[in-house]
């Protein structure tokens, strides 16, 4: 188990290292950072001075070490546009993205699990077939277009929900949150549904497949033979057993949900880190782009690592397998 753990952690570190290397080399392949930082009327002496100050005259491996050591201290350069540290900028915007991603996950569960359960328990019914087809459609519908349709329907035609921004926020622990106010919740609803679309389909499929797998097992039939109520069998015996794979997959999906929030944020003008990265790519604000990529990849790797470890500890079968 310990060997596996160390191996898994090493693997995670390797991914972060590889990403930092790509980001660093990319930064140097695309152009000399000095050219980007210098004013157009700078003299050769200014240039030499800046190059020496940034350490650009040293060998590449040494420059990478400098870059990595300052990155570890949370310094990834200053934004050209906002003139504040890039990491600060990302961390300011990240809570909005995390809020959106978590809300999408919650939606995926509260919509996906009941539908998947129904489709799994009554596979022959028409509604189950509809759910099944709907989940296939959910995989192929382009997220951004669905976002537009949501705005068209619920904001423009019906006028029920707002189409952009976060609405009123409440400050808790020094961070603004939308889900604590009614107005904020109304703003959160459409983007969260949009972002959850793909995950809802995934949860439906997983739940349905899990139910189909568990239903014919002896312990479910035994519970039925004991005369337990159907609702109790579903809740205590079936749902509990499909929860572990479901939670694991959802946990692993959280990272990609955070990354894909870029699309949803840009449609609904949600002021998160995804919106920031798009603006930064357009403004050629390279430090912010690089900081975003490194922060999100690190986040992604850590989430996956934690989920992976939790899964090992939660599922007794996997635990025994690992120790055997």
């Amino acid at each position: 188990m310990l060997g596996w753990l160390l191996q898994r952690v090493a693997q995670a570190l390797l991914v972060i290292f590889a990403m930092s290397l790509v980001v660093f080399l990319g930064l140097h392949a695309v152009g000399n950072p000095a050219d980007l930082l210098l004013a157009p009327d700078a003299t050769q002496i200014d240039r030499a001075e800046l190059v020496a100050r940034l350490g650009l005259d040293r060998p590449l491996w040494q420059q990478y070490l400098n870059f990595a050591s300052s990155a570890l201290q949370g310094d990834l350069g200053r934004s050209f546009v906002y003139n504040v540290p890039a990491v600060t900028l990302i961390l300011q915007r990240l809570p909005a993205t995390l809020e959106l991603a978590f809300a999408a996950m919650v939606f995926a569960v509260i919509i996906g699990v009941p539908l998947g359960l129904y489709a799994g328990l009554y596979p022959e019914r028409v509604l189950s077939k509809l759910i099944q087809t709907g989940s296939i459609l959910g995989f192929s519908l382009p997220t951004f277009w669905v976002g537009l349709l949501l705005i068209m329907t619920f904001s423009v035609s019906l006028g029920w929900l707002p189409a952009s921004g976060r609405g009123e926020t409440v400050r808790v622990f020094g961070v603004e949150w939308s889900f604590l106010t009614l107005n904020g919740l109304r703003h959160l609803l459409l983007p969260a549904i949009n972002l959850s679309l793909f995950k809802v389909s995934l949860v439906i499929r997983l739940t349905r497949a899990g139910v189909r797998e568990v239903l014919p097992l002896d312990y479910v039939r035994f519970a039925r033979a004991k005369g337990l109520r159907r609702g109790r069998i579903v809740m205590m015996h079936i749902l509990r057993n499909i929860m572990i794979p479901l939670v694991t997959v959802l946990g692993l999906e959280l990272g990609s949900t955070i990354a894909f929030a870029v699309v949803t944020e840009s449609i609904f003008a949600w002021p998160g880190s995804g919106k920031l990265i798009l603006d930064s790519i357009n403004a050629l604000d390279r430090p912010v782009v690089m900081a975003y990529l490194l922060v999100v990849v690190t986040l992604f790797v850590i989430i996956n690592l934690v989920v992976d470890i939790l899964y090992r500890f939660l599922d007794p079968r996997v635990r025994e397998e690992a120790s055997a």
Binding site: I151, V156, V262
Partner: protein
């Protein structure tokens, strides 16, 4: 022995696979829609009433007209309305479809060639080269595609060419993994030993003997990757990182219509989106059916 017995020809895998493929209605629907879209894209210059990329042919006075309106000059009926610049939307969709399909198919084919070659090389050489290629595959497949796309486009700059490069980078890993797994199975077959016994050169064994036997699952991956590439290209163009404004792909058309949607002019975004959806669903239908036919495990 000049006539081939009927039973023998029926057992030929390719013909029976085709027949089984066409047995499902979903395959017909998918193929039908796909043919329609491909014809529309290929013959766009002949079908479209207007060249939407030709700024001289566009009249700004005709901007944002509802579907079915007649142009101010009276010679074009805008079947699906016009966009914010006065482009005939039907023409713009046909030309946009051209871009989307070219990018999707082109990147899938390019990634297929690279991925299959690397997969075969990994399976053949084993050891360090195998480990190196497969770890790269793992890395690419573990990270969210949008993140890699953002990284590439931030490094290379915006533009449709760079989007194709990004798609190739994202896709080759899927082919490589399958090609390698398939080739490792084929390596144990008798024909492989026989070919080696004959002393054929490695490249000939891999390309003429192993590759044809690996093809069925790779075809399925190819179909699904085309759909994935089209979606991702549309998404990136929608975000303003792909196709240039003067030559919009479907994704950019949808993005351009977005601002007018808030004032109720839905058609500028809606119809390009519907076309995009049709293309993706058609390809997925065909891909799913291909998988059912070609992958014996899916039949159970």
């Amino acid at each position: 022995m000049t006539t081939v017995p009927a039973a023998a020809s029926a057992r030929r895998p390719s013909s029976s696979a085709l027949r089984r493929f066409l047995r499902a209605p979903s395959a017909w629907i998918g193929l039908g829609l796909m043919t329609l879209l491909v014809i529309g894209a290929v013959f766009a210059p002949q079908i479209a009433p207007q060249n939407p990329f030709d700024l001289a042919a566009i009249d700004v006075l005709d901007a944002r007209m509802t579907p079915g309106s007649v142009s101010s000059t009276g010679d074009i009926t805008y079947l699906l309305g016009t966009d914010g610049q006065g482009r005939d939307l039907f023409s713009a969709i046909l030309y946009g479809l051209r871009t989307s399909l070219t990018v999707g198919v082109g990147s899938a084919v390019l990634a297929g060639i690279i991925g299959i070659l690397l997969g075969l090389i990994a399976a053949w050489s084993g050891g360090f080269i195998d480990a190196l290629i497969m770890r790269l595959v793992d890395l690419l497949m573990s990270l969210p595609s949008i993140l890699i796309a953002l990284l590439m486009l931030a490094l290379l700059g915006k533009g449709i060419g760079n989007v194709v490069l990004t798609l190739v980078l994202l896709e080759w890993a899927y082919y490589a993994r399958t090609a390698r797994a398939q080739a490792l199975v084929e390596r144990k077959r008798d024909y492989f030993e026989a070919a080696r016994g004959l002393g054929l050169p490695t490249s000939r064994i891999l390309l003429r003997h192993v590759l044809p036997n690996c093809l069925p699952p790779l075809l399925v991956i190819g179909a699904l990757q085309v759909a994935r590439a089209i979606t991702l290209e549309a998404t990136l163009s929608f975000l303003g990182l792909g196709a240039p404004v003067t030559q919009p792909s479907l994704g950019l058309l949808i993005a351009n219509g977005f601002q007018f949607m808030l004032s109720g002019e839905y058609w500028i975004s809606f119809f390009p989106g519907l076309t995009l959806l049709t293309a993706i669903v058609a390809i997925n239908l065909v891909g799913d059916r291909l998988r059912e036919v070609l992958d014996p495990r899916a039949l159970k």
